[in-house]
Symmetry: C2
Subunit: 220 residues, 2 copies
């Protein structure tokens, strides 16, 4: 949702978009969505596979749907298991080298403030340090911009709704199934953001998961 | 030469060594050498292929031996063509994520002062910024050390000779042939460093290249 909103908002400045396929449960669906959004906006789409992450890195995000914390398991400690070590550092470094190779001057990242707590490589201090590293390491040819660093995911969705982002061409679920599971942390955040923006929520929990919440009173 | 010297000097602190195969002319030979040195020192060796660099990145180092500046072509402008954009940033980012995944605390880089002029991602300012980015992005779990940043390649070789580094298990030539060409920039630096350390020079220019230097007086 966040990257696609940025793609729409800055479409006239963006020469190419990069999706990294690092073997997470949801990467394949994410790639299809990214490709479709880029085609619609007329932006070149590049997919870079990073097989080594699936092979060597430790993260619940890389260990199949069964490893993703759901429902009552959704707390800070369990969520920390979904960190992919230095994921944004790796993706930004590759994007920076690619940008310099293509004669481009800027790399953009759609991190947001809701991720700061769990993911260190989404925080303002990381973005600032990474911008310095990219600038120094490319001989000041490339810089990093992160326009949503201080926005919440809800604010991003509200912004996206105003400029007509098609969120049906985005995929969020950490479990990677055909439909959004509605129970993992990212599905919950997606539902909240879509609702805040007044858009249809496509990641409701399945009926079974809500059985215990459904009382006769509520049905009436 | 530089990485292998560091491998020997810090062997008792090093849990794993990573070689990146990014499709340069000399990567295949470099990998064989790195693997052999690690086997000798009892250090785990990990090889990470980065096919996307060969495919998308622009550098004389990735365009076959014919693109490497030789002999009279060896000047700052031509040497700049051998820059692989943000190469050290990419390799260090992956190494940082790998270190965090393996529960290790430090990533080490054997950059040296002779590379500062041509390669921005070897300079002290880059190393310092990249250290901040790695520290911030891993939640202060990993830091970067670059113990040779202020040494020359000659000083590194002198250090290596003292501790018994086997430089016959290192490969430097940018052209990637079976023997060191002796004419590219890195072969010239290798020859100078080995000579400074009082070690046999294994990358002398071929006889043909020296024909014009050989006068009857010199032969006598």
């Amino acid at each position: 949702m966040d990257s696609t909103t940025m793609l729409y908002e800055f479409a006239d400045r963006i020469a190419a978009a990069v999706t990294f396929d690092y073997g997470s449960n949801h990467n394949a669906r994410e790639c299809k969505c990214a490709e479709a959004s880029c085609r619609r906006l007329g932006i070149e789409w590049i997919c870079i596979p990073l097989e080594f992450m699936k092979r060597y890195f430790r993260s619940a995000l890389l260990d199949g749907p069964g490893a993703i914390p759901l429902g009552d398991d959704y707390n800070a400690e369990n969520m920390a298991a979904t960190v992919v070590p230095f994921r944004n550092g790796i993706m930004l470094s590759i994007a920076a080298g690619l940008a310099q190779s293509l004669g481009l001057t800027t790399v953009m990242l759609a991190n947001h403030s809701g991720d700061h707590h769990i993911y260190p490589d989404c925080r303002p201090a990381f973005v600032s340090a990474m911008n310095s590293a990219i600038s120094e390491g490319t001989g000041e040819k490339v810089v990093l911009e992160a326009p949503y660093t201080h926005l919440t995911k809800n604010e991003i969705a509200i912004r996206g709704a105003k400029i007509g982002v098609d969120y049906s061409l985005t995929y969020s679920c950490y479990c990677g199934g055909e439909r959004h599971c509605g129970r993992c942390a990212t599905c919950r955040e997606r539902a909240e953001a879509l609702a805040a923006a007044g858009l249809p929520v496509d990641c409701l929990p399945l009926a079974d998961d809500h059985a215990s919440d459904t009382t006769p009173t509520a049905q009436a």
